[in-house]
Amino acid sequence: MDLVCPAGSLPSLKAAVDHGADWIYLGLRDDTNARNFPGLNFDAAALTEGLAYAHARGRKVLVAINTYPQAGNWARWTAAIDRAAALGADAIIVADSGLMRYASHAHPGLALHLSVQGSATSYEAINFFHQHFGVKRAVLPRVLSLSQVELVVRRTPVEIEVFGFGGLCVMVEGRCALSAYACGESPNTAGACSPAHAVRWRETPAGLESRLNGILIDRYAKGERAAYPTVCKGRYAAGDDTYYAFEEPASLNTLEFIPDFGRIGVRAVKIEGRQRSPAYVAQVTRVWREAIDAWKAGTFALRPTWMAALDRHAEGSQHTLGAFSRPWK
């Protein structure tokens, strides 16, 4: 089982490598990837150095080119693929089928991973990408239960990667225009959900308010932990109830499922958080490395120290097993 860790910068990439990531995924410094945030990501020089650092230590690097190009800017995405191939990336993560076709023709030696943004939730969908483009690995949207993941693994030759830890999309990845609805930018087309420039925090007599493009996403009383204002993490009123209409802010933490992932044949576990600090990457990578190694050695038992270390990085200090366990089922 491979450990796939995020890097939004060269220090994060080094932290991931140093603490035991098998694969490091990153994006280029533009809207060709779904974490298109100011100050984040890799230019050609940083990517070259990052690749050298990882390869010298036997690790692999994935370049996420996982947003959807449009008529006027297609060439920027194909240029990103060409650059990733030329610099020696071990694989690229792609969502758009047309781009996949481009990559499979232009760079037949470059491994293709299907991005979670490709929104393939069934083996039929994944097998489409395998049959047409030879996709080697697919990242599953965070909507399937363990038994549903198992069914997918059994019915496709494509390696399956699941999210293990980090920020959690409540909606199906690649099928959510909530951010575009509120502020004009969503992951699919702009590579960002609730971009920082549209977010405002304000102390008011009624509490701390978070707004997205002027829309009140939530208001926090003293002592309440505030969450970053994505539309799906807000509190709204339905009739007389004001509540987290979609989900309480929480982070995914599936450390306890490592033996289950192994048993059902999951090939890789992914840590979310290219926008997070090198310290986050280092600590989360270290814990997951130890846990996976313990499972490989047949000595896996959930250690309180692991959970404590991971809890420090959770949204609202809460962790959830997400769709894997489906408490809401």
Partner: protein
């Protein structure tokens, strides 16, 4: 410009559905999309009932398309998609790549709005696989539609979401069941009490979203009545109207009159504002946030 009625996204009692499509049969719509696209637990209208409604609409001169479920998680969900694909009578709208996979190589399927087709290269790919219609994603801008259709594959028509609460997101979770503290598997079909979705307001009382089971809709109503000329110019052939629980036929009549030039765009918008279950918005088409009026 042709008019299409999109699939019924919300959950209505069987009798209401039957009555609704009887009215639609007599309405000025060209194409009707049928079937349960949102939630496999909904059972008021059986698959065979949808086929029968389809026959009724064909007899009334309508083109009928079966919409496949957009989010598939289980083998049971895939069975529903396979049944739609193999129906043998009507065209099928693919709303995920699993359905597209099953339809590949057959001719005449519809590449639905949830397939994420944003560029001409990807549209060309689905056209090669047999799609003959593209339904643009709901957040499509004028520039996007015009850009794609400037390189339109041969014999492929284009449909744009033009009226109705915007389908914005899908989830594994049921948010209507959540409101009533019910488990998804024991939801009591709470969504049936909200024929146009359950309204969510911000904490300062501003209409924002509408919950429809696992789907999230906009509170406001998308309306491109004032953008018909630009739609034509961009190359759109079909305008999609999403069903609402009241006055859908009047909405279709109004848009038909506007498309035919019998009603000014100003008057059409005014008439639709009186029929819509929320404020009218058209931001997406203008490259703006969806909940803005350009």
């Amino acid at each position: 410009m042709k008019l299409a009625l999109g699939p019924l996204l919300t959950y209505w009692p069987r009798a209401a559905v039957q009555r609704f499509y009887e009215e639609i049969a007599a309405s000025p719509v060209d194409t009707v999309y049928l079937g349960e696209m949102v939630c496999s637990r909904r059972h008021e209208v059986a698959f065979e009932d949808w086929l029968a409604i389809g026959e009724r609409l064909v007899a009334a001169g309508k083109e009928v398309v079966l919409s496949a479920q957009a989010l598939t998680e289980s083998e049971g969900d895939l069975k529903l998609v396979r049944r739609a694909v193999a129906n043998g009578r009507f065209r099928v709208e693919a709303n995920d790549w699993g359905a597209a996979h099953l339809l590949s190589g057959t001719r005449g399927w519809v590449a639905g709005p949830h397939l994420n087709l944003y560029n001409p290269q990807t549209l060309a790919l689905v056209a090669e696989l047999g799609a003959t219609r593209w339904v643009a994603p709901v957040e499509a801008t004028r520039e996007m539609v015009a850009g794609i259709l400037a390189q339109r594959p041969a014999r492929l028509d284009a449909e744009v979401f033009g009226y109705g609460r915007m389908p914005l997101a899908l989830s594994a979770r049921c948010f209507t069941a959540r409101r009533f503290n019910r488990q998804k598997e024991d939801c009591g079909y709470a969504c049936m009490d909200f024929p146009d979705g359950m309204a969510l307001e911000t904490r300062e009382g501003k209409p924002f979203l509408a919950v429809n089971g696992i789907q999230t809709l906009s509170a406001g109503v998308y309306c491109l009545a004032e953008d018909l000329a630009a739609l034509r110019e961009a190359g759109a052939d079909i305008l999609r109207v999403s069903p609402q629980s009241t006055d859908t036929v009047e909405v279709l009549r109004t848009l038909r009159a506007a498309c035919d030039g019998r009603l000014s765009s100003y008057d059409a918008r005014k008439a639709l504002a009186a029929l819509a279950p929320g404020r009218l918005w058209n931001g997406f088409w203008h490259g703006r946030p969806g909940m803005e009026a350009a």
